[in-house]
Symmetry: C2
Subunit: 236 residues, 2 copies
């Protein structure tokens, strides 16, 4: 591990905006310590998890007390944008940004082993650390909100009434650069201790998935207005 870090430190430095490596370099804070085989640091894996999710849990600390707030988010480029009224209150007077941990978790299944001890969950999660800042300028906020909306509901932006100036002012969007990030996941079948395979216990996976049901038209939405395709067949 020390060797890894030396190699990175001695490498030439490029701006992240110009050249983005295929993998994030795990830091002491993002390296998966427990069950290291479940850790992943490559951008493709991490971005795929982020793009399937749309709810994140944002952690921030106030006087040592952590708070964890669920909120909607979207990855746009190498940034996470998230709605953040609670977190944004903490940002007052903090010009350099708020130290946050943004965690995204996708639940894939319950793992029923033959022993209680080997029960587990199949999941994919991403932990991103860094300093979140408010998206400030109006145009930047509009672009962020558009990226955010289009990522969660592609096509929705042009179908709806877009934000006016007053609404933009009332919206807090926070931005976290994706620089210190790791994924952790469990995939695959049950793993039991060798002697336990002889037990007469049902073992297997209960798959779990967040599934969209049939859209429910608003009572005040005229039946002649067609249901958009992105709502009819919503898939993450």
């Amino acid at each position: 591990m020390a060797g890894d870090r030396e190699a990175v430190d001695s490498a030439p430095r490029f701006s992240m905006r110009c050249i983005v490596s295929e993998s994030f370099t795990p830091t002491a804070r993002t390296r998966v310590v427990r069950e290291p085989h479940r850790g992943a640091y490559d951008r493709e894996t991490i971005y795929k998890i982020l793009d399937e999710g749309f709810v994140c849990h944002v952690g921030f600390a106030v006087d040592g007390q952590p708070f964890v707030i669920p909120t909607m988010f979207a990855r746009v480029g190498d940034f996470i944008y998230f709605h953040g009224s609670a977190a944004s209150r903490m940002l007052r007077g903090v010009s350099e940004g708020l130290s946050v941990c943004v965690t995204v978790t996708l639940v894939d299944g319950l793992v029923l082993a033959r022993s209680v001890f080997n029960h587990s969950m199949n999941y994919r999660s991403v932990v991103a650390l860094g300093k979140a800042t408010l998206v400030g300028a109006t145009e930047e906020k509009l672009a962020a909100l558009r990226g955010f909306t289009e990522k969660i509901l592609p096509g929705r932006w042009n179908d709806t009434r877009q934000p006016n100036e007053k609404e933009l002012k009332a919206t807090s969007i926070l931005r976290l650069p994706l620089t210190e990030v790791s994924a952790k996941m469990r995939v695959g079948p049950v793993e039991d201790d060798a002697p336990d395979y002889a037990l007469s216990v049902w073992a297997g996976i209960i798959p779990l998935q967040l599934i969209a049901g049939a859209p429910v038209r608003d009572e005040r939405c005229d039946a002649s207005i067609p249901l958009p395709a992105y709502a009819a067949h919503y898939i993450r």
Copy 2:
């Protein structure tokens, strides 16, 4: 608010184990400030959300840096029990417990309004603050693990090989008393600004639900071993 707190402070004190009030008293830390109509403090609402969930996000801070880790949990009585290797590492030498925020979020739907600004999410979430401690004694750990397992998969405990001493030692279970807790949720239909109802925009809800698929029998699980009912019809 000051009045509320005075009333509570002047009330006679009982052990939480004997008399539990129907509602949690919101503190400055758990009172829902933004959109207060979405806050709830009654035990029934909060416990119902906790009992439907089985994945929580645990937040803790190390030198001001928050970390948010997903893990499985179960409410047993007036406690949350959760698996906590990452958090338990932080507990070393902290006898009075680790300040945590445990957040449970259930996603119920996307709310597609006529304006971008009024887009939202239907959800139910619980935030619990307090000091988490390790479940230490072997019998207590066994009881916690049993409660935990039975809450997530009722009936599983007796079907499987139960933990031996070595496994119990290798399992970190943390316990958080439910004393400072609040719920926040959004339920119901789209809410648009009055003039926007005239727009020809599809509006409504895309319901979302975590759904269990057909159980997948482990390759090494003999077909003669019957599929238990709790796995065949898994519902949260």
